[in-house]
């Protein structure tokens, strides 16, 4: 699957529908859906929210891998932002110290089995994988 999406939260519904279709067509294990949906949304929302210097559409690609799926999001004409270098959230902090911000990328790093960031020529590409645990295969 290779599709481009406008820089709008309203596109999340389309992304979910396209992901569902890809899982069905390529027989991806449904147990991975929640993790993939969550990581995709968090990374897409992060690009839309913070990469405001560009008007380019965001490219999402998916391909099947052994026992799982590889997903990438590519954003053109943007500054460097490496999500793998962020995501520090103190989830043990008391309520008074908790804020809504920062949880998204933290969850991506928790959910993904692997995540990789590339930045070349003002293009950011984030690739993550999710696999079924070997015991479940």
């Amino acid at each position: 699957m290779r599709k481009r999406y406008k820089r709008s939260f309203e596109e999340i519904q389309k992304i979910v529908a396209d992901t569902e279709q890809f899982f069905a067509q390529d027989n991806i294990d449904e147990s991975l859906r929640m993790k993939v949906d969550l990581s995709l949304e968090e990374l897409f929302v992060n690009m839309v929210t913070y990469n405001t210097e560009t008007i380019c559409e965001i490219l999402i690609e998916m391909k099947p891998i052994d026992n799982g799926i590889e997903v990438s999001l590519t954003d053109h004409d943007v500054n460097r932002f490496d999500p793998t270098a962020s995501g520090q959230v103190d989830v043990d902090a008391p309520l008074a110290d908790r804020t809504p911000g920062g949880l998204g990328l933290y969850l991506v790093l928790k959910m993904a089995d692997s995540i990789n960031y590339e930045y070349h020529g003002r293009t950011s590409k984030i690739t993550f994988t999710n696999k079924v645990a070997e015991a479940d295969v």
Binding site: F9, E10, I12, Q13, V16, M34, D37, L38, E41, E42, V45, D90, V91, D92, A93, L95, A96, R98, T99, P100, G101, L103, G104, Y106, L107, K110, M111
Partner: protein, 98 residues
Amino acid sequence: MFDIDFNNSGAVVVSGRLDAAQAPKAQEFLDRVLDECIVDMSALEYISSAGLGVLLKTHKRLMVNASQLRLINVNSHINDIFRYSGFDKLFIIDTASS
């Protein structure tokens, strides 16, 4: 698709997918809650950090007056998100099986 409403018992019932596009709708509704409140999540299929932020903001506001949100009928997938986020230490959560 996401929906939020009160049921006949006065609990807030949420259903569908609470994502970044739907979070403002949820926040607008929960901003009207002024007291202790049960949130029935039996029909909630998905929640992202945007939805977690709505719950956290509302919970913190209510706690100022010694009230809180209590989350019930939480499915195992969403409960995993709550655990990863540390929300299991901040909220009273009843899972669907408990």
